[in-house]
Amino acid sequence: MRLIGRNSRGRTTGSPVRADYRALSHFGTGSHRGPGRVNCDGQLYTIEGIAAALLMIMTAYLVVNATSVYTAGDTHISDMQLEQMGSDALKIMDTPLVENEKSPLQEIVENPGSVNNATFGSMFLDLTNLKTNSGSDHIQYTANYTCRIHPGNEIASYPLSYSRNLTLGEHAVRVTKWVTVNKGAAAFCGTTNTERAVLVEVLMWRD
């Protein structure tokens, strides 16, 4: 700052504006003679310095911040919709067709038959894959149910149905539905002739 002041003062030519500034600075700091004097030269350098500092901070901010956003929000939104659709499908399947009768899902859990239950497969895939326009969606699923072994607090899961084998590479969502079953005289998870609550779990994903 002082160097600049001295150099500019030494010149004979200068813009009128700068001459005014110099006059003002002399006027304002009249009591300070010698090296410590303040003047208004060098403003452009100060502004340039601030600009450079801001540029560096801004660059560092953008670089550091860019790595933290690595997932687009869209992935979660489609997961959310898939989960809601599967949940709705299970709810429809657990609704009886005639009042006071068993729902299709109750009948499936009570009599699953061989492991890949065809009724569950056709109902679930129809409810989730059919579209209003031509063609169908590509949703796949694998379903099982969990019951508690009575008496005690142990649980057991049994496969129910699947449309694809799980390769663990799927980006799947999990939907569940509580179902009340009663198999009458036949044994079910350690009891007979009683209502039981079981949890039907479905993993679903798009191919």
């Binding site: 979660h76 809601q84 569940t176 009683t194 609550a197």
Partner: protein, 123 residues
Amino acid sequence: MARLNDDAQWIILMGFLISFSFFFLAIVINQSTVVGQTTAESVIEFPKNDIRDISQTISGSVNLPFPSNETVNQDIVVIALNRKNAVVSYTIIQPAPPSDVHSHAVIHYNNGVTEYNENWTSL
């Protein structure tokens, strides 16, 4: 040293203003992706369907006779803890005819993020 010319400071200041406004707009755009992500995440995290489902199952079991209601209660508590990571506890209060003809179910649900309590009354 280059000759210092401090004309046109207004132009530089205006340039500053414009670049600052661009900078803040960039921050707003930058944050918008995070907002979309966290919104969808919080919708997934909120167990709306789980709560509706468990409330429906419990209210459907209020009229079960004695051994069955205890079995179903234990089923729901144990399976919810093991498979849904949720602590569920409920009590069914049978109707006391002269004063109260309704069944009640006091339901508590907590999965560590969301806590839900319901006092269900039959029609």
